[in-house]
Symmetry: C2
Subunit: 190 residues, 2 copies
């Protein structure tokens, strides 16, 4: 087989290998509500060792520049893509977080914190309102029971929210890896 033919086949294999993983990553992100295009953008960036400009992305994904602009901002919002500065270039440059443990911490940790805060506010408001019903002597017993049952359920929900916050913290701080260590890779195993 001719030299450059071999070379070209290798090129295709490498692209196929990357594309396979890119699709899997994008599909995964879709699972958690990240749109396929945004997922594909992150996954594409995952395989780049140099930071990308909006034009690079546009060329890689075959999409418009405004799309890339908004997509990359969403990735910045969930903290898995960072803007990097590089002397010389006028264009903005972006770099994907490649450490999936960091990715996980940002993607889930940040959402859990937001979830906990959001719900704790609602829960507290609801409990206060329900407690007023329980405390009012003129309300009939049936409704009071209903209120009491809701309060009880919401107290459980509250504990869950606090647990979520602690889970997020322990991932943020890395503390969780004491409990669930990252295993050494196969080849490093004795």
């Amino acid at each position: 087989m001719a030299e450059d033919q071999k070379q070209q086949k290798a090129e295709e294999m490498l692209e196929d290998a990357e594309r396979t993983v890119i699709n899997a990553i994008a599909e995964t992100m879709d699972l958690y509500g990240v749109t396929p295009s945004i997922g594909r953008l992150y996954a594409t960036m995952y395989f780049k060792h140099a930071p990308l400009t909006l034009d690079d992305m546009k060329d890689d994904l075959g999409m418009s520049k405004p799309s890339m602009s908004t997509a990359v901002r969403k990735l910045q919002d969930i903290n898995i893509v960072k803007k990097v500065w590089r002397k010389g270039s006028r264009k903005d440059l972006f770099m994907a977080e490649k450490d999936f443990f960091q990715y996980f911490a940002h993607f889930f940790g940040d959402k859990w914190e937001r979830e906990a805060k959001l719900n704790l506010t609602a829960i507290q408001y609801a409990i206060d309102e329900l407690q007023q019903i329980v405390d009012d002597d003129e309300i009939d017993e049936e409704m009071k029971d209903h209120a009491r049952r809701d309060i009880q359920q919401l107290e459980d929900y509250k504990r869950y929210c606090h647990w979520l916050e602690r889970l997020a913290e322990s991932i943020e701080s890395g503390e969780i890896f004491e409990f669930l260590p990252i295993e050494e890779s196969e080849k490093e195993k004795k």
Copy 2:
């Protein structure tokens, strides 16, 4: 204030309390890609102590029965709603999981398992293909380096996937609560 006026005001307060939490839950679920309607359905069921029929849901949410049918199936798919059997009723009856720790285990645990499996398959396929490039003497060094870098990165990704699997397991089994115990509620604190 008249008796039944007081009563009616309490009714409104109770509804307001529940609605507040329902909105928060639905908003939370939306954060992870569950559509608002499906989120609202779960949240509504969360406050019911008796199982619901499709007609109950339809009335509660003011939507069509087919919508409820498909929505409730999605909730069953993520294992946070169960069909229950009750003597007498011909209609299907559904009950929401109210323990949010169980909810969490199903919602995230199941997804993480799926994510890990999906990606590990893709990663292994890609590594095998990349290894062929590395092992081929006729390929030029630049492409080999690219392949080697990809392999290294994918090995890290693999470790993350295995870690995710273990995290899912430890939540499924409850083992995680040894590390991150569920705190007693305020009132039970000494």
